[in-house]
Amino acid sequence: MSRIFAYIPQKSGVPDDAATELVAVAKKIDSRASPTAILIGFGPEIDAACTSLRDSYAEIWRVANESLAYPNAELVRKALVDVLPAGCILLLPHNHFGIDLSPGLSIKMNVTYVSDVVNIEGTDGTFLNLVRQEFGGQISAHVRCDISSGAVLNIRPGAFKPQEIPALNGQVVDKSAAVGALPSKRRFVETIVAEAGDVDISKEPVLVSIGRGIQEKDNVAIAQELADAMGAVVSCSRPVVDAKWLEKCRQVGSSGKTVKPKIYMACGISGSFQHLAGIKGSPFLVAINKNPKAPIFQVADIGIIDDLLEFLPELTNRIRESVSSHR
């Protein structure tokens, strides 16, 4: 079985949450595997990140290079090709960076590539059986891939639960010297931070979140009324922002904000992966949707099959009544 590596993105010295998830993935591929973490960056940040992974990984490869201070996928790709041994299996989170890096990486490493893996069923000889989703998550597919000469696997964040493993005392190995010349055909200029907006949903404990099911801009008021009655804040999924019914700062999801509420009311939200990726911390999730087959019901704690345009106003009224009767 090939050696398994896990590329761990880091931000300001903090490794991505996926770090421990990828350990679980590695174990599913090969139960005896001891994956090696590989981090790329520069300065004190990369050192800090490497150090914090010593509990979870036996070996941590540190690749530091000034040109790699910002993770430009084109440059990272070349660095990985220089550093990684032939025929290995590389795991990384499937996010905006993974999507940018991996396809080209798999070609340069001449290995198999599978993106957005949600489950690993096991190996069978030189084949790996895994599960992906298609059609916006409406359907799943069994995929069989040939990993005899190695692979790059992008793993869906949150799809694998980190396992309990005894704390390791990992070694940090510096591999910076292996990195050769880095390409320059794509040059990072700057990051433009999204406008702050008047609301920071990432700090809110209770969110009333709306999706396409709200149907039109005028109905957003229905959600606002519920939020007011509950002392909550309104957030939404991507289609609502695309339709310009709410500002971008209220979007929950992989291209929006990450939220950690205690309670999340998902109203008229189908439950696409991209949206759920923005919800962390296992809140109490109530899903209201008139489609009983909506994927959100898989992950919600409580499900209500009803038209949110009818249900929410009633809920709002009852809450108001009960509040006033409690006084």
Binding site: E216, K217, D218, A243
Partner: protein, 704 residues
């Protein structure tokens, strides 16, 4: 007899003999006018074709009614009466103007030589001039003091021309004064000689004549000649000035009315004179540049009197959408005058959208027809909006919210993207099916009557109840009917009116084939948009009726009897759907049906029949997100409230969507409700007696 004044021709003006002077004025004036007219006609000659020369007898009748009879004017009683008087005065005085033009002023100046008819004419014209003069004063006061709201120009449309309006009123008044002064001085002269009394007492010239009673002969002569000169100059100035502004309608109105559209509810073809195959080859659809308008549309722009009645009745305007029909026309006219000026060369064909019109403006129209119904000059709007939309569609410039339903119409035959195979699912409702089986006319079965359901009634959970009610009614009345089922496609009514002509034709052709194979001799629908489409957009179909018409017939013939109204305390009001009422003039049948329900209390809203207020629009309009201050439906629901009603009856599924929605938005849930006419009738149908004929092939609706 006395000696009247000679013709002013005989006077000398400065060193120029009168006859030469006036001849020159005539020649100059008419040449100028002819030149101006030619320049104004130029854009018409380069415009798109328009077939308006058919049915001349019908056109003449319409001209008599709407132009000569000023039929639409009294809809605004104040301004209406005023204008009728001014118009009557103008016509009267025009006769004299023409005779003067042709025969010269020389002829009839001697009172004694006039016959009775001419004398009578003189009296009438004296009063005419007086009335016109007074009307000018009243009109000026209205504009300056009372400032009727509909004349105001909202800031986004720039400045109005209030000074110009007053100027013109003043000029006409001056014309009347000059004319009267001319008459008065002539009469004063005769009076001084004791010849004759001035018969038109209390007319303007009469007052002037009395004021001039002691003027000297030479003063009178000077006034006589001077007033005539003034009159001629003012007349020709006005003649040549009118084509530069709103008063051009004086000349163009006759033609605009004669050439007006005869066929209600229709939409003009993409280009007149081309077969559908030829249209397919066109590189460009619709109006993108000014020259793409037809000559009649340009004539419409010329003919607008800027009265504001259209916008005053436009529901889009009322809710603050960026559409004001008046300014669609006025801005186009300004544009035309600027780019096709009289005294300079034309400066080319510039794109309209983005400059003259905004996209939101063009998409905001619900095609309700209120503007066209109101316009006294019969100016057309819907065809222009459709043509502009055709241009936008052609350029791919369509709001994203409309692209989705259009794509769904193309791939699934309905704007909701729902599966074709589910189109007849509404007939399978368990409770309904037990009592009423609906035939599917898919080639194996035929029927006399086709019930054309259309998309919203087929797929929308709420509107399916209208479908079921309609089917039950048809069944109860013994109609041998069926539906097209999965073969039915959207009627395409809004598809066409939103400018997607090619997609419309595709839907139409598929439906026409399916309808043909049913063998039906009659089509019934409960959807006024489908009704209008089948009646006017489709060709060679059997008779098409709306369910309200069918019910009315059945009640009248005694085949259908209605029970006492279920809810005695409710007050009902009927909302006229635009495509049943205004476009197809079916106003009475639905009302007769309601009145046939014993004990039903019905009131009329202030805006009813041809002044009904659009609910918000149907078909694709439900998908468009307009910029507006409030919803049309909410305004309409408030009108019902104001009329004292708590139940709104409508006969259109789109009206139902908009009104039920509006009841919620207006916060009137529980206090106001809406019901469809078919649903109401179905609830009140009396038990079927044994003597009622059982329809063939249908499970009898018995024992309930």
């Amino acid at each position: 007899m006395g000696v009247g004044f000679a013709s002013p021709d005989q006077a000398t003006y400065g060193l120029i003999p009168g006859w030469l002077f006036f001849l020159s004025i005539h020649v100059l004036g008419l040449t100028c006018f002819a030149y101006i007219l030619t320049r104004r006609l130029t854009p018409l000659l380069h415009a798109a074709p328009d077939f308006r020369f058919d049915r001349p007898w019908l056109r003449s009748k319409k001209t008599l009614q709407f132009w000569f009879g000023q039929w639409k004017h009294p809809r605004y009683p104040g301004a209406g009466v005023l204008h009728i008087l001014i118009f009557a005065g103008f016509i009267t005085l025009a006769i004299r103007a023409f005779t003067v033009l042709i025969f010269g002023a020389g002829q009839d100046f001697d009172v004694s030589t006039l016959g009775i008819v001419r004398q009578l004419y003189e009296i009438i014209t004296d009063y005419a001039a007086t009335i016109v003069f007074l009307c000018m004063i009243v009109a000026a006061v209205r504009r300056i003091v009372f400032k009727p709201a509909r004349y105001a120009v909202p800031p986004q449309y720039g400045k109005g021309h209030p000074a110009d309006a007053i100027f013109l009123l003043g000029l006409i008044a001056l014309l009347m004064v000059a004319d009267s002064l001319h008459e008065a001085s002539k009469a004063a002269n005769l009076l001084q000689q004791g010849v004759s009394e001035f018969p038109a007492v209390f007319s303007l010239p009469w007052f002037m004549a009395r004021a001039l009673a002691s003027a000297s002969y030479s003063t009178l002569w000077s006034l006589y000649c001077g007033a005539y000169l003034l009159h001629q100059l003012t007349f020709y100035f006005l003649l040549c000035y009118r084509p530069f502004g709103i008063q051009f309608h004086v000349e163009t109105s006759l033609f605009n009315v004669f050439f007006a559209k005869l066929d209600r509810g229709t939409v003009k073809p993409v280009k007149w004179g081309l077969s559908e195959a030829q249209v397919d080859q066109l590189k460009s659809f619709g109006v993108k540049k000014f020259g793409d308008f037809t000559w009649k549309h340009i004539l419409d722009f010329y003919s607008c009197a800027d009265c504001g009645r259209c916008s005053d009745n436009c529901p889009a305007n009322a809710v603050g959408r960026p559409l004001s029909p008046r300014f669609v026309t006025v801005k186009a006219r300004e544009y035309c005058f600027e780019h096709y000026p009289v005294f300079a060369p034309s400066d080319g064909n510039l794109p309209l959208v983005g400059g003259l019109y905004s996209e939101d403006q063009i998409w905001s129209c619900t095609t309700c027809g209120a503007c066209e119904e109101e316009c006294p000059l019969l100016i057309e709007y819907i065809d222009k909006i459709v043509d502009l939309r055709r241009g936008l569609i052609d350029d791919g410039n369509v709001p994203q919210t409309l692209q989705k339903p259009l794509k769904a119409l193309e791939t699934r035959g309905n704007p909701y993207g729902k599966l074709e195979k589910n189109r007849a699912e509404w007939t399978k409702d368990k409770e309904f099916r037990d009592h009423c089986e609906v035939k599917i006319l898919d080639g194996r079965e035929t029927a006399d009557t086709l019930y054309f359901v259309d998309s919203i009634t087929s797929y929308d959970d709420r509107m399916q109840s209208i479908g079921r009610a309609t089917a039950r009614i048809l069944s109860r009345c013994g109609h041998n009917f069926g539906i097209l089922g999965t073969k039915e496609k959207d009627s395409g009514h809004e598809v066409r009116r939103f400018g997607e002509e090619t997609l419309f034709r595709m839907l139409r052709d598929e439906n026409a084939d399916a309808i043909d194979s049913t063998g039906a001799s009659k089509i019934v629908t409960a959807d006024p948009h489908a009704f209008n489409a089948l009646k006017h957009d489709y060709k060679n179909l059997p008779t098409v009726e709306h369910i309200s018409q069918v019910i009315a017939h059945e009640i009248k013939s005694g085949r259908l009897e209605l029970k006492r109204v279920e809810t005695e305390n409710d007050v009902y009001t009927y909302h006229d759907p635009c495509y049943l009422g205004r476009h197809n003039q079916v106003y009475d049948n639905p009302r007769d049906v309601l009145d046939a329900i014993p004990g039903l209390k019905r009131v009329e809203m202030k805006r009813s029949r041809d002044r009904s207020f659009c609910c918000g629009g149907g078909g694709l309009m439900l998908f468009y997100e307009p910029r507006e201050e409030q919803r049309m439906g909410v305004l309409r629901v408030r009108m019902a409230e104001e009329a004292g009603a708590n139940v709104i009856v409508t006969a259109c599924p789109y009206c139902m969507v908009n009104i039920e929605d509006a009841i919620k938005v207006a916060g009137l849930e529980g206090k106001m409700r809406a019901i469809d006419l078919a649903e109401l009738v179905e609830k009140h149908m009396k038990e079927q007696g044994p003597e009622t004929r059982q329809p063939d092939g249908l499970v009898a609706v018995a024992g309930r």
